[in-house]
């Protein structure tokens, strides 16, 4: 290992645009979620029912707001990779940072940054919920939660790398719409809060993982989507009825889908990397 891993991670965590999109904008969404969208009708239900409602509410926020945060960080990874393409080309030739070391260290730094920002989102949701209701809603299975967040990080890292290399291979380093693809994906997944995709959820990258995150954070069965459809979740919870998922998510299938996406994106990235060889291809952008 070289110091690249440490400084790359530090750079990602202290970069101003990363801070804005990963922390400030996420804080805005967390406050909106907890103070505006969370509606517990008066009179408040009993404390144990309220705790259960808030735990599920927080778990949905960890997952779906966390996805927006992670998507923003992945966009930052794309921008950073394009900006440093020349530096990487030089460093891998003339420093100890060989291509293999770069690949490993950049991957670890990128995934760690995505997970770190997601954990900040988790902390913000816990703090905001406590500030409003005085109830601490900690994740039920924090280890599994971190594992699923790490899988999100790995998937988004390779998606970001695929986007970067595609832009470089196309000779078009400034394609804002393509660059924002990880964030668009996060918003698309956000829609599954209301929309049940059924078995099609396995074809959408990230979506099965987000459902697993909800399950790990609050202990309810994962679904294929539509958590908030028709307000049934809150009605049932307020009456003390455990939520019954309309379409249960298969955990093995969800993990297989994630593995397939990660493998495909990694393969495309490595193929494109061989094609562009990290050269700063922005030079080829049409003038």
């Amino acid at each position: 290992m070289t110091l690249y891993l440490y400084y790359k991670l530090k750079g990602l965590l202290t970069d101003r645009s990363g801070f804005f999109w990963g922390i400030v904008s996420t804080l805005f969404w967390v406050l909106m979620w907890v103070y505006v969208f969370t509606r517990v009708e008066e009179p408040l239900p009993s404390l144990d029912i309220l705790e259960e409602m808030l735990r599920i509410n927080a778990a949905l926020a960890f997952s779906y707001l966390g996805a927006l945060s992670m998507g923003s960080v992945a966009v930052g990874l794309t921008a950073g990779a394009i900006a440093s393409s020349g530096a990487v080309a030089f460093a891998t030739r003339f420093t100890k940072l060989t291509p293999a070391k770069y690949l490993v260290e950049d991957f670890l730094a990128g995934v760690a940054a995505v997970v770190a920002y997601a954990l900040v989102c988790v902390a913000m949701v816990v703090a905001a919920t406590y500030a409003r209701y005085g109830i601490l809603v900690l994740p039920e299975n924090p280890v599994l939660l971190v594992v699923y967040l790490a899988l999100c990080g790995i998937l988004l890292y390779w998606l970001s790398r695929t986007v970067t290399l595609s832009m470089l291979a196309l000779g078009k380093p400034r394609l804002p719409l393509l660059q924002m693809l990880p964030l668009f994906l996060a918003f698309l997944n956000y829609a599954t809060l209301w929309l049940d995709l059924g078995d099609r959820v396995y074809a959408l990258p990230l979506a099965p993982l987000l459902s697993l995150i909800v399950s790990a954070a609050c202990g309810i069965e994962p679904t294929t989507g539509g958590w908030l459809a028709g307000g049934r979740l809150w009605e049932n919870l307020a009456q003390g009825v455990a939520p019954e998922p309309l379409n249960a998510l298969s955990v093995p299938l969800a993990l297989a889908s994630t593995a397939a996406w990660i493998t495909a994106l990694t393969a495309v990235s490595l193929t494109l990397a061989l094609k562009v060889k990290s050269v700063a291809l922005e030079e080829f952008a049409p003038s």
């Binding site: 070289t2 110091l3 690249y4 400084y7 790359k8 530090k10 750079g11 990602l12 202290t14 970069d15 950073g80 900006a83 440093s84 020349g86 530096a87 990487v88 080309a89 030089f90 460093a91 891998t92 030739r93 003339f94 420093t95 100890k96 940072l97 060989t98 291509p99 050269v279 700063a280 291809l281 030079e283 080829f284 952008a285 049409p286 003038s287």
Partner: protein, 296 residues
């Protein structure tokens, strides 16, 4: 690490560099196209020892250095210490440069970048900081700002000091004197004179011919290199319009042809201060000739 006792790792495995191996950079028929136009048009050069690539802005000097540093796709042949550029991987201490984009590896403060590159290139951070101090750049500033937050002059001093601190066998310095005051230019020139490896720098300022008389000079015009000629000879050479028998160099440009001839008197390159003025000179000659033709 001593730059002359390095191991050079290439894609086919590890190749031990000879302890007193020849340091040199050679380019053959180098062609580079950027944005649809040909920026380098078949450059041939061998850099061994100390060299200046002297040329006006837009002549392809920086593109040549970026290409040798592996930042730009090219056609032709580039070899560094006898190894094709494409085969070099993890070759610590073989090449260093002050091209700023090379240092944009991570978005951290400049001082942290210095630590990072000291680790990656076995550079001597103490030497880099001492040189920066001499060039008027303090450690406190580097601890506060990222590379692109530094002024252009400070950024250039920073990357130049870092490139020299690597103690690489070959160093490419892109406009190292840019935005330095005269006293600091002298200090940097003295550092370059003392450097033990191959140094190739580019500039458009002609005072270097006087300051570095023993260096070999290539003149860069419109994507081609002409030379080499020693700086001492070029410094006193007169600029003559058109072709001239026995000229040190004859150069064709869009604005006309000129030769550099050894003679007493006449306008020299150092009189111009910067090579950008060659075009002005040739255009003036052309206008005067047209006017004379018109009067007849």
């Amino acid at each position: 690490m001593n730059a002359h006792s390095l191991e050079l790792r290439v894609s086919s495995g590890f190749i031990s560099m000879p302890s007193k191996g020849i340091s040199m950079i050679t380019v053959e028929n180098l062609r580079v196209k950027l944005g649809g136009s040909e920026v380098l048009k078949g450059v041939d050069a061998a850099f061994r020892g100390k060299h200046v690539v002297l040329g006006p802005n837009g002549s392809g000097k920086t593109t040549l250095f970026r290409t040798i540093a592996g930042l730009v796709p090219y056609e032709g042949r580039i070899e560094i210490d006898g190894h094709p550029l494409g085969r070099l991987k993890g070759a610590v201490g073989v090449l260093a440069t002050n091209i700023a984009e090379v240092y944009q590896l991570a978005p951290v403060k400049a001082l942290e970048l210095l630590n990072l590159f000291s680790d990656l290139s076995d550079a001597d951070p103490v030497r880099a900081l001492a040189l920066l101090e001499e060039l008027g750049v303090g450690e406190e500033l580097l601890a506060k700002r990222r590379l692109w937050e530094l002024s252009a002059g400070t950024r250039k001093a920073f990357t130049t000091a870092l490139a020299l601190a690597v103690n690489a066998k070959n160093v490419l310095l892109d406009e190292p004197f840019e935005q330095l005051d005269p006293a600091k230019k002298v200090k940097l020139a003295s550092e370059l004179e003392k450097y033990s490896g191959v140094v190739v720098m580019n500039t458009h300022e002609t005072w270097v011919l006087e300051a570095l008389p023993d260096w070999e000079v290539y003149l860069a015009f419109e994507g081609r290199l002409h030379g080499p000629v020693t700086a001492q000879k070029l410094e006193s050479a007169a600029i003559v319009e058109g072709r001239s028998d026995g000229a040190l160099l004859t150069i064709e440009t869009r604005a006309g042809c000129f030769s550099l001839v050894e003679s007493e008197g006449g306008r020299t390159l150092t009189d111009l201060l910067t090579l950008d003025r060659v075009y002005e000179l040739l255009t003036n000659i052309s206008i005067r000739r047209s006017l004379r033709g018109g009067l007849r």
